[in-house]
Symmetry: C2
Subunit: 400 residues, 2 copies
């Protein structure tokens, strides 16, 4: 039988990253591709205890729950956010099945076909996917090391009347960049001046390498209901729980909750209750400190090895937190082609192209440093550098 699909299907592509993940899980490939936390750091015992309590404490916790999320969890999140300067009410929090769902529900209630969304470039590819599936038009704003370039941002707001500005300002995926305090403030000013909503996606904010250097979230400076802020426990506890949240203006959160009701009734409440117990019984902040240190060490190992690659013009940003290195190779490199060679040599990364809004820089790539031990990073970087240097050499020969 021939099936008739909806128009929006043409915007749904299987994500390049996840497709790669499927392949490279087979065999002896060292993968820097996925955005995965380290399984070795999962607080298994604490999670086990938390689930035990969640399942056995109260049969009500196993029943259908409220769409907005378990109240005790929303209250615990309000407390955690307050410590970071975000004063919000539990009624303005919606628990989601990971922060990916927050992006989707927000898009569902906000965007009509043709609506404009401004983003950085490159940016989180699964957000681009969602936006496009709602037939919106994503427009890239010029960025430098400190965030969006304000002149270009204001020009584009003025000319395009965007519905929303989507940003990952802290240890971004894929570039690992951090917006400066000044840019954060100015973004907020412009959003206020032109009445545009900001969507602040912050999955990595707690993974900063220098605690003194942690920038405040844009949401923490917002007193005018301009910012929707989302984060997740996927990087700090375990991804399999699929618990994220979004906080923002009550009017938007309330309608997102109605959309969520139609979508999946409510988020897994065993996980929600488990998280409440975990936050009560376990030193999550101490645990995050441990994760930070481990990831910082791994980042340094990768950085030192990157520096040894004999490839003229290879550039990278040293991340101040998060999970990724963003590497720019000389222009003759095409990282999608390079990936095939790399996989043959037993190492994988993600080509930069799918992270771009339009015309990609084909000579870029993203590497994850959190999911491999220092030993594996050394071995994998050896394999990668070999491929890089061989490719560089071939080019030198062929261009002679």
């Amino acid at each position: 039988m021939k099936y008739g699909f909806s128009r929006r299907v043409k915007y749904l592509k299987s994500s390049a990253v996840r497709d790669i993940l499927k392949v490279i899980n087979q065999g002896d490939i060292i993968s820097f591709a996925g955005g995965l936390p380290d399984e070795g750091l999962f607080p298994v015992e604490a999670v086990d205890q938390a689930f035990h309590k969640a399942v056995t404490s109260n049969a009500k916790a196993l029943q259908y729950g409220e769409t907005e999320g378990v109240k005790e969890l929303r209250e615990a999140l309000v407390e955690r956010m307050a410590k970071k300067g975000m004063k919000r009410d539990a009624e303005d929090v919606l628990i989601t099945s990971g922060s990916q769902q927050a992006i989707d529900l927000f898009s569902r209630v906000m965007f009509n076909k043709g609506d404009i969304i401004l983003t950085e470039n490159p940016t989180y590819l699964a957000a681009l996917q969602v936006f496009e599936s709602y037939e919106t038009k994503v427009v890239a704003v010029d960025s430098d090391d400190d965030g969006m370039v304000l002149a270009d941002l204001e020009k584009k707001i003025n000319r395009l009347k965007p519905k929303c500005i989507y940003v990952v300002p802290t240890y971004s995926n894929p570039t690992g960049k951090v917006w400066s305090l000044e840019r954060r403030k100015k973004l907020l000013e412009l959003a206020d001046k032109y009445h545009v909503v900001i969507f602040e996606d912050d999955p990595y904010g707690e993974l900063q390498f220098d605690k003194e250097d942690a920038p405040p979230s844009i949401a923490s400076m917002d007193d005018n209901g301009l910012v929707l802020y989302t984060s997740t426990f996927s990087k700090t506890v375990v991804p399999a729980m699929r618990i994220g949240w979004i906080v923002g203006p009550h009017q938007i959160i309330r309608i997102m909750a109605q959309a969520k009701q139609a979508t999946d009734l409510h988020t897994n409440s065993i996980s929600q209750h488990a998280l409440v117990h975990l936050l009560n019984d376990f030193d999550l902040d101490g645990h995050i400190e441990k994760i930070r240190k481990t990831y910082y060490e791994r980042m340094l190992v990768m950085k030192d090895l990157l520096a040894t690659a004999k490839v003229e013009g290879l550039e990278y940003i040293v991340p101040k937190g998060g999970m990724f290195f963003w590497v720019t190779l000389p222009e003759h490199f095409n990282t999608t082609k390079l990936l095939k060679k790399a996989v043959k040599n037993g190492v994988a990364f993600v080509p930069g192209s799918p992270f771009y809004v339009s015309k990609p820089d084909k000579n870029t790539l993203r590497m994850n440093f959190t999911n491999s031990t220092p030993e594996l990073i050394k071995e994998g970087m050896g394999r990668l550098i070999q491929v890089l240097e061989e490719t560089e050499e071939e080019q030198l020969i062929s261009s002679k």
Copy 2:
């Protein structure tokens, strides 16, 4: 700040049922409103053991997982379905966050604005909500005690060229009806003849009161890729796990998986792994047998009490399974108004109106018999019958 929402927001209403649930959870009200299984029957110890194994057996189970769902769970489902005559491959199964998400993802990939969906009337209100949120047009097909009336069905298929026929053929929500075998076969024939997809929503199929009397699913008779079949563990294990699944033609399932990837990456995999352990270690079928017996006894208690109500013309369907009584009162009753009186008298139900596609029968109501003990059913039915008889008497006096 004033926010601009998407057009589809106007189709999102908070579900009447869930709004009522919120109110009646307060105070001393006996509720027949929610579609809730009985917490007292939850297999807490088995669930606890299953989660313990899921969390501690393998750290990989706590990592990001595949969008399609945990492979072992899909394989276990294939085995369970095969026992009921549904021969399918694990590749044609998508694990969802409850079967509500299956309805939503299906709608997302299939429907354009203005597409026609044929349904029974009344039918599951949260499906109606989802369909409407995609700006489709839902058209009711005439039904009798055996299912859709075939003449009306064929006429409407012919005239309206629907994209899909949505049915809850087994112990339906809200009416508790069961389609006859003949109607099931004929529906399939018509779907084949006119190339229309059938969406078979089967959350209650395992809750039949007479095992000998269980009708085969429509999907089990489909050899032509016509049927999408969804079910859930919410009624047989615990709702809080939020684990449902959908099985159907690979081409549709594959695209739904891509949509799911954008929506929430994947379903909670701790719950998925826990379910794998539960299916291995626990006698789920024995447990379901226990649930069936308990629910059957409760249904009988409610039925016997309904029969005592001195309300001329009160009618109800005696359910052969599932969770609900569907009651039709004399025409002068308006059950939305009646609910206020009932709640004042300490008992709640769901008015029938929101389950209708168009012009509702305002004198109908749905009562759940699974979430109250026989004692509470007796007490609650006493309260309800008092309100019914008072209302009936007032009408008799005022019409004199």
